[in-house]
Symmetry: C2
Subunit: 198 residues, 2 copies
Amino acid sequence: MLFARPLAELISELEKLPGVGPKSAQRLAYHLLRVPEHEAVSLANAIRNAKQRLRFCVRCQNISEAETCEICLDGRRDRSMVCIVAEPRDIAAIERIHEYKGGYHVLHGLLSPMDGLGPEQLRVKELLGRLADGDIEEIILATNPTIEGDATALYLAKLLKPIGLKVTRLAHGMPVGGELDYADSATLLSALEYRREM
Amino acid sequence: MLFARPLAELISELEKLPGVGPKSAQRLAYHLLRVPEHEAVSLANAIRNAKQRLRFCVRCQNISEAETCEICLDGRRDRSMVCIVAEPRDIAAIERIHEYKGGYHVLHGLLSPMDGLGPEQLRVKELLGRLADGDIEEIILATNPTIEGDATALYLAKLLKPIGLKVTRLAHGMPVGGELDYADSATLLSALEYRREM
Protein backbone atom coordinates (compact mmCIF):
# COMPACT_ATOMS: atom_id res chain seq x y z
CA MET A 1 0.00 0.00 0.00
CA LEU A 2 2.32 2.66 -1.31
CA PHE A 3 -0.40 5.20 -2.17
CA ALA A 4 -3.90 5.99 -0.95
CA ARG A 5 -6.38 4.50 -3.45
CA PRO A 6 -7.57 7.68 -5.22
CA LEU A 7 -3.91 8.69 -5.60
CA ALA A 8 -2.96 5.25 -6.97
CA GLU A 9 -5.84 5.49 -9.45
CA LEU A 10 -4.76 8.94 -10.59
CA ILE A 11 -1.17 7.75 -11.07
CA SER A 12 -2.35 4.75 -13.06
CA GLU A 13 -4.52 6.94 -15.35
CA LEU A 14 -1.65 9.40 -15.91
CA GLU A 15 0.72 6.53 -16.75
CA LYS A 16 -1.45 5.72 -19.77
CA LEU A 17 -0.49 9.03 -21.41
CA PRO A 18 2.22 8.83 -24.09
CA GLY A 19 5.70 9.61 -22.79
CA VAL A 20 4.58 9.49 -19.16
CA GLY A 21 6.38 6.77 -17.20
CA PRO A 22 5.67 5.67 -13.61
CA LYS A 23 7.96 8.35 -12.17
CA SER A 24 6.48 11.24 -14.18
CA ALA A 25 2.98 9.97 -13.43
CA GLN A 26 3.74 10.20 -9.70
CA ARG A 27 5.21 13.65 -10.11
CA LEU A 28 2.16 14.86 -12.06
CA ALA A 29 -0.23 13.30 -9.53
CA TYR A 30 1.47 14.97 -6.56
CA HIS A 31 1.47 18.23 -8.49
CA LEU A 32 -2.29 17.97 -9.08
CA LEU A 33 -2.83 17.29 -5.37
CA ARG A 34 -0.82 20.37 -4.47
CA VAL A 35 -2.44 22.90 -6.82
CA PRO A 36 -5.66 24.72 -5.85
CA GLU A 37 -8.87 22.75 -6.39
CA HIS A 38 -10.06 24.97 -9.26
CA GLU A 39 -6.87 24.36 -11.25
CA ALA A 40 -7.17 20.57 -11.11
CA VAL A 41 -10.89 20.77 -11.89
CA SER A 42 -10.15 23.00 -14.92
CA LEU A 43 -7.93 20.27 -16.34
CA ALA A 44 -10.56 17.58 -15.68
CA ASN A 45 -13.22 19.76 -17.33
CA ALA A 46 -11.00 20.58 -20.30
CA ILE A 47 -10.53 16.85 -20.96
CA ARG A 48 -14.28 16.20 -20.78
CA ASN A 49 -15.16 19.23 -22.91
CA ALA A 50 -12.64 18.40 -25.59
CA LYS A 51 -14.01 14.85 -25.82
CA GLN A 52 -17.64 15.98 -25.91
CA ARG A 53 -17.47 19.08 -28.07
CA LEU A 54 -14.91 18.20 -30.73
CA ARG A 55 -15.54 16.23 -33.90
CA PHE A 56 -14.12 16.02 -37.41
CA CYS A 57 -14.90 18.70 -39.99
CA VAL A 58 -17.19 17.17 -42.62
CA ARG A 59 -15.07 18.74 -45.38
CA CYS A 60 -11.40 18.48 -44.46
CA GLN A 61 -11.60 16.01 -41.50
CA ASN A 62 -9.70 18.43 -39.25
CA ILE A 63 -10.66 18.59 -35.56
CA SER A 64 -13.50 21.08 -35.26
CA GLU A 65 -16.08 22.33 -32.80
CA ALA A 66 -18.65 23.05 -35.54
CA GLU A 67 -19.75 20.72 -38.33
CA THR A 68 -17.39 22.55 -40.72
CA CYS A 69 -14.06 23.83 -39.35
CA GLU A 70 -13.00 27.50 -39.32
CA ILE A 71 -10.40 27.01 -42.03
CA CYS A 72 -12.96 25.49 -44.40
CA LEU A 73 -15.46 28.27 -43.59
CA ASP A 74 -12.88 31.05 -44.09
CA GLY A 75 -13.84 32.77 -47.37
CA ARG A 76 -10.39 34.36 -47.73
CA ARG A 77 -8.71 31.01 -48.21
CA ASP A 78 -7.82 29.67 -51.63
CA ARG A 79 -10.18 26.81 -52.45
CA SER A 80 -8.15 25.69 -55.45
CA MET A 81 -5.35 24.19 -53.28
CA VAL A 82 -5.61 21.33 -50.83
CA CYS A 83 -2.71 20.32 -48.61
CA ILE A 84 -2.91 16.65 -47.59
CA VAL A 85 -1.60 15.85 -44.10
CA ALA A 86 -1.57 12.69 -42.00
CA GLU A 87 -2.76 14.15 -38.67
CA PRO A 88 -4.63 17.26 -37.45
CA ARG A 89 -1.48 18.39 -35.60
CA ASP A 90 0.27 18.74 -38.97
CA ILE A 91 -2.21 21.51 -39.88
CA ALA A 92 -1.10 23.48 -36.81
CA ALA A 93 2.54 23.10 -37.91
CA ILE A 94 1.80 24.48 -41.39
CA GLU A 95 -0.51 27.24 -40.11
CA ARG A 96 2.27 28.48 -37.85
CA ILE A 97 4.37 29.58 -40.84
CA HIS A 98 1.51 31.98 -41.85
CA GLU A 99 2.23 31.46 -45.53
CA TYR A 100 -0.09 28.78 -46.85
CA LYS A 101 -3.57 30.08 -47.61
CA GLY A 102 -5.22 27.05 -49.21
CA GLY A 103 -7.30 24.30 -47.64
CA TYR A 104 -6.36 21.02 -45.98
CA HIS A 105 -7.37 17.41 -45.92
CA VAL A 106 -6.50 15.16 -42.98
CA LEU A 107 -5.97 11.48 -43.79
CA HIS A 108 -5.94 10.42 -40.10
CA GLY A 109 -3.08 8.04 -40.65
CA LEU A 110 -0.68 6.81 -43.29
CA LEU A 111 -0.64 3.66 -45.40
CA SER A 112 0.96 0.93 -43.35
CA PRO A 113 0.17 -2.61 -44.53
CA MET A 114 2.01 -4.05 -41.50
CA ASP A 115 -0.53 -2.35 -39.20
CA GLY A 116 -3.45 -3.23 -41.46
CA LEU A 117 -3.84 0.39 -42.62
CA GLY A 118 -4.92 0.48 -46.25
CA PRO A 119 -6.58 3.31 -48.23
CA GLU A 120 -9.98 2.28 -46.76
CA GLN A 121 -8.76 3.12 -43.24
CA LEU A 122 -7.63 6.60 -44.31
CA ARG A 123 -9.97 9.46 -45.25
CA VAL A 124 -9.30 8.98 -48.98
CA LYS A 125 -12.95 8.44 -49.89
CA GLU A 126 -13.78 11.83 -48.34
CA LEU A 127 -10.97 13.43 -50.35
CA LEU A 128 -12.30 12.01 -53.61
CA GLY A 129 -15.74 13.30 -52.63
CA ARG A 130 -14.31 16.82 -52.32
CA LEU A 131 -12.76 16.63 -55.79
CA ALA A 132 -16.20 16.13 -57.30
CA ASP A 133 -17.18 19.83 -57.08
CA GLY A 134 -14.26 20.79 -59.34
CA ASP A 135 -12.85 23.78 -57.39
CA ILE A 136 -9.61 22.00 -56.55
CA GLU A 137 -6.67 22.42 -58.96
CA GLU A 138 -3.57 21.55 -56.89
CA ILE A 139 -2.97 18.86 -54.30
CA ILE A 140 0.09 19.39 -52.08
CA LEU A 141 1.22 16.15 -50.46
CA ALA A 142 2.57 17.05 -47.02
CA THR A 143 2.95 13.65 -45.42
CA ASN A 144 6.11 13.09 -43.36
CA PRO A 145 9.27 12.09 -45.28
CA THR A 146 9.16 8.57 -43.79
CA ILE A 147 8.58 5.20 -45.45
CA GLU A 148 4.85 5.33 -44.68
CA GLY A 149 4.63 9.03 -45.59
CA ASP A 150 6.40 8.50 -48.91
CA ALA A 151 4.31 5.42 -49.73
CA THR A 152 1.09 7.33 -48.99
CA ALA A 153 2.23 10.29 -51.11
CA LEU A 154 3.09 7.95 -53.98
CA TYR A 155 -0.26 6.19 -53.71
CA LEU A 156 -2.19 9.48 -53.72
CA ALA A 157 -0.13 10.89 -56.60
CA LYS A 158 -0.96 7.83 -58.72
CA LEU A 159 -4.61 8.13 -57.75
CA LEU A 160 -5.01 11.88 -58.31
CA LYS A 161 -2.82 12.65 -61.33
CA PRO A 162 -5.05 10.78 -63.82
CA ILE A 163 -7.95 13.02 -62.69
CA GLY A 164 -5.96 15.90 -64.18
CA LEU A 165 -4.91 17.57 -60.93
CA LYS A 166 -1.53 19.20 -60.31
CA VAL A 167 0.04 17.06 -57.58
CA THR A 168 3.07 18.41 -55.69
CA ARG A 169 5.05 17.21 -52.67
CA LEU A 170 6.78 19.24 -49.92
CA ALA A 171 10.52 19.46 -50.64
CA HIS A 172 12.94 17.22 -48.78
CA GLY A 173 16.31 18.72 -48.07
CA MET A 174 18.65 20.26 -45.53
CA PRO A 175 16.79 21.68 -42.53
CA VAL A 176 17.45 25.44 -42.26
CA GLY A 177 20.33 26.02 -39.84
CA GLY A 178 21.50 22.43 -40.22
CA GLU A 179 25.07 21.39 -40.98
CA LEU A 180 26.02 19.33 -44.04
CA ASP A 181 28.48 17.46 -41.90
CA TYR A 182 25.70 16.16 -39.64
CA ALA A 183 23.03 15.53 -42.27
CA ASP A 184 22.24 11.88 -43.02
CA SER A 185 22.83 10.61 -46.55
CA ALA A 186 19.13 10.22 -47.36
CA THR A 187 18.53 13.88 -46.52
CA LEU A 188 21.57 15.00 -48.51
CA LEU A 189 20.47 12.91 -51.47
CA SER A 190 17.00 14.49 -51.32
CA ALA A 191 18.51 17.96 -51.05
CA LEU A 192 20.51 17.26 -54.19
CA GLU A 193 17.47 15.94 -56.07
CA TYR A 194 15.31 18.91 -55.03
CA ARG A 195 18.06 21.46 -55.88
CA ARG A 196 16.94 24.65 -57.57
CA GLU A 197 18.61 27.18 -59.86
CA MET A 198 19.53 30.41 -58.08
CA MET B 1 -6.95 30.23 -34.82
CA LEU B 2 -4.57 27.28 -34.76
CA PHE B 3 -6.83 24.99 -32.73
CA ALA B 4 -10.58 24.61 -32.17
CA ARG B 5 -11.43 26.27 -28.83
CA PRO B 6 -11.99 23.17 -26.65
CA LEU B 7 -8.72 21.79 -27.99
CA ALA B 8 -6.88 25.06 -27.29
CA GLU B 9 -8.28 25.05 -23.76
CA LEU B 10 -7.16 21.47 -23.17
CA ILE B 11 -3.66 22.25 -24.47
CA SER B 12 -3.45 25.30 -22.23
CA GLU B 13 -4.51 23.30 -19.14
CA LEU B 14 -2.01 20.53 -19.93
CA GLU B 15 0.77 23.09 -20.36
CA LYS B 16 0.37 24.05 -16.69
CA LEU B 17 1.62 20.61 -15.63
CA PRO B 18 5.26 20.44 -14.52
CA GLY B 19 7.63 19.31 -17.26
CA VAL B 20 4.97 19.67 -19.96
CA GLY B 21 5.93 22.24 -22.61
CA PRO B 22 3.77 23.52 -25.48
CA LYS B 23 4.81 20.64 -27.73
CA SER B 24 4.11 17.86 -25.20
CA ALA B 25 0.83 19.53 -24.26
CA GLN B 26 -0.26 19.34 -27.90
CA ARG B 27 0.85 15.73 -28.16
CA LEU B 28 -1.05 14.80 -24.98
CA ALA B 29 -4.17 16.68 -26.13
CA TYR B 30 -4.23 14.94 -29.51
CA HIS B 31 -3.69 11.64 -27.74
CA LEU B 32 -6.69 12.28 -25.47
CA LEU B 33 -8.82 13.13 -28.50
CA ARG B 34 -7.80 9.87 -30.16
CA VAL B 35 -8.42 7.44 -27.27
CA PRO B 36 -11.90 6.02 -26.59
CA GLU B 37 -14.25 8.31 -24.66
CA HIS B 38 -14.18 6.16 -21.48
CA GLU B 39 -10.39 6.34 -21.24
CA ALA B 40 -10.30 10.14 -21.32
CA VAL B 41 -13.23 10.33 -18.89
CA SER B 42 -11.40 7.95 -16.50
CA LEU B 43 -8.51 10.39 -16.34
CA ALA B 44 -10.83 13.36 -15.78
CA ASN B 45 -12.63 11.44 -13.01
CA ALA B 46 -9.38 10.31 -11.38
CA ILE B 47 -8.27 13.95 -11.14
CA ARG B 48 -11.59 15.00 -9.56
CA ASN B 49 -11.69 12.03 -7.18
CA ALA B 50 -8.14 12.52 -6.02
CA LYS B 51 -8.84 16.19 -5.27
CA GLN B 52 -12.12 15.47 -3.50
CA ARG B 53 -11.30 12.32 -1.56
CA LEU B 54 -7.71 12.87 -0.42
CA ARG B 55 -6.61 14.88 2.62
CA PHE B 56 -3.70 14.89 5.03
CA CYS B 57 -3.46 12.29 7.81
CA VAL B 58 -4.10 14.06 11.12
CA ARG B 59 -1.11 12.25 12.67
CA CYS B 60 1.71 12.11 10.11
CA GLN B 61 0.41 14.61 7.48
CA ASN B 62 0.79 12.01 4.72
CA ILE B 63 -1.77 11.98 1.91
CA SER B 64 -4.67 9.82 3.06
CA GLU B 65 -8.21 8.87 2.12
CA ALA B 66 -9.28 8.42 5.78
CA GLU B 67 -8.70 10.84 8.67
CA THR B 68 -5.71 8.75 9.77
CA CYS B 69 -3.54 7.11 7.08
CA GLU B 70 -3.00 3.36 6.71
CA ILE B 71 0.60 3.54 7.89
CA CYS B 72 -0.40 5.30 11.12
CA LEU B 73 -3.26 2.83 11.69
CA ASP B 74 -1.04 -0.24 11.07
CA GLY B 75 -0.54 -1.87 14.50
CA ARG B 76 2.52 -3.82 13.29
CA ARG B 77 4.58 -0.68 12.78
CA ASP B 78 7.08 0.52 15.35
CA ARG B 79 5.65 3.61 17.03
CA SER B 80 8.96 4.50 18.68
CA MET B 81 10.54 5.70 15.41
CA VAL B 82 9.48 8.61 13.22
CA CYS B 83 11.09 9.30 9.87
CA ILE B 84 10.83 12.96 8.86
CA VAL B 85 10.42 13.64 5.15
CA ALA B 86 9.80 16.78 3.12
CA GLU B 87 7.05 15.48 0.81
CA PRO B 88 4.52 12.63 0.71
CA ARG B 89 6.33 11.16 -2.31
CA ASP B 90 9.40 10.57 -0.13
CA ILE B 91 7.35 8.10 1.95
CA ALA B 92 6.70 6.05 -1.20
CA ALA B 93 10.45 6.01 -1.91
CA ILE B 94 11.28 4.69 1.58
CA GLU B 95 8.37 2.21 1.62
CA ARG B 96 9.66 0.70 -1.60
CA ILE B 97 12.78 -0.66 0.14
CA HIS B 98 10.49 -2.74 2.45
CA GLU B 99 12.88 -2.35 5.35
CA TYR B 100 11.72 0.58 7.47
CA LYS B 101 8.90 -0.34 9.83
CA GLY B 102 8.49 2.86 11.87
CA GLY B 103 6.21 5.85 11.33
CA TYR B 104 6.58 9.01 9.26
CA HIS B 105 6.04 12.72 9.50
CA VAL B 106 5.67 14.88 6.39
CA LEU B 107 6.89 18.48 6.70
CA HIS B 108 5.31 19.55 3.37
CA GLY B 109 8.33 21.60 2.41
CA LEU B 110 11.80 22.53 3.58
CA LEU B 111 13.12 25.65 5.28
CA SER B 112 13.86 28.21 2.59
CA PRO B 113 14.06 31.80 3.83
CA MET B 114 14.41 33.04 0.22
CA ASP B 115 10.95 31.63 -0.55
CA GLY B 116 9.51 32.81 2.76
CA LEU B 117 9.35 29.25 4.12
CA GLY B 118 10.07 29.26 7.85
CA PRO B 119 9.26 26.62 10.51
CA GLU B 120 5.70 28.03 10.75
CA GLN B 121 5.04 27.10 7.11
CA LEU B 122 6.17 23.49 7.69
CA ARG B 123 4.24 20.92 9.73
CA VAL B 124 6.61 21.29 12.71
CA LYS B 125 3.88 22.23 15.21
CA GLU B 126 2.08 18.97 14.34
CA LEU B 127 5.33 17.04 14.91
CA LEU B 128 5.82 18.59 18.35
CA GLY B 129 2.21 17.70 19.13
CA ARG B 130 2.97 14.03 18.39
CA LEU B 131 5.98 14.03 20.71
CA ALA B 132 3.69 14.90 23.65
CA ASP B 133 2.37 11.33 24.07
CA GLY B 134 5.90 10.03 24.76
CA ASP B 135 5.92 6.91 22.52
CA ILE B 136 8.55 8.33 20.16
CA GLU B 137 12.21 7.57 20.93
CA GLU B 138 14.06 8.10 17.65
CA ILE B 139 13.66 10.72 14.96
CA ILE B 140 15.26 9.87 11.59
CA LEU B 141 15.82 12.98 9.49
CA ALA B 142 15.33 11.94 5.86
CA THR B 143 15.28 15.31 4.12
CA ASN B 144 17.17 15.52 0.81
CA PRO B 145 20.93 16.16 0.98
CA THR B 146 20.50 19.68 -0.45
CA ILE B 147 21.09 23.08 1.14
CA GLU B 148 17.44 23.38 2.20
CA GLY B 149 17.28 19.72 3.26
CA ASP B 150 20.44 20.03 5.36
CA ALA B 151 19.29 23.31 6.91
CA THR B 152 15.94 21.79 7.83
CA ALA B 153 17.61 18.70 9.32
CA LEU B 154 19.94 20.91 11.37
CA TYR B 155 17.04 23.03 12.60
CA LEU B 156 15.03 19.98 13.65
CA ALA B 157 18.04 18.33 15.32
CA LYS B 158 18.60 21.46 17.43
CA LEU B 159 14.91 21.58 18.28
CA LEU B 160 14.44 17.89 19.13
CA LYS B 161 17.70 16.84 20.83
CA PRO B 162 17.08 18.93 23.99
CA ILE B 163 13.78 17.04 24.44
CA GLY B 164 15.92 13.92 24.95
CA LEU B 165 15.17 12.20 21.66
CA LYS B 166 17.70 10.21 19.63
CA VAL B 167 18.01 12.17 16.38
CA THR B 168 19.66 10.49 13.35
CA ARG B 169 20.11 11.47 9.72
CA LEU B 170 20.17 9.30 6.58
CA ALA B 171 23.77 8.64 5.53
CA HIS B 172 25.24 10.62 2.65
CA GLY B 173 27.75 8.72 0.56
CA MET B 174 28.46 6.96 -2.69
CA PRO B 175 25.32 5.74 -4.44
CA VAL B 176 25.40 1.93 -4.79
CA GLY B 177 26.77 1.05 -8.24
CA GLY B 178 28.34 4.51 -8.59
CA GLU B 179 31.93 5.14 -9.62
CA LEU B 180 34.39 7.07 -7.46
CA ASP B 181 35.76 8.66 -10.57
CA TYR B 182 32.39 10.26 -11.37
CA ALA B 183 31.33 11.16 -7.82
CA ASP B 184 31.34 14.89 -6.97
CA SER B 185 33.60 16.06 -4.15
CA ALA B 186 30.75 16.85 -1.75
CA THR B 187 29.47 13.28 -2.06
CA LEU B 188 32.95 11.83 -1.63
CA LEU B 189 33.57 14.02 1.41
CA SER B 190 30.29 12.84 2.94
CA ALA B 191 31.13 9.22 2.17
CA LEU B 192 34.41 9.67 4.02
CA GLU B 193 32.75 11.29 7.02
CA TYR B 194 30.06 8.59 7.22
CA ARG B 195 32.63 5.76 6.82
CA ARG B 196 32.11 2.69 8.99
CA GLU B 197 34.39 -0.01 10.35
CA MET B 198 34.05 -3.33 8.51
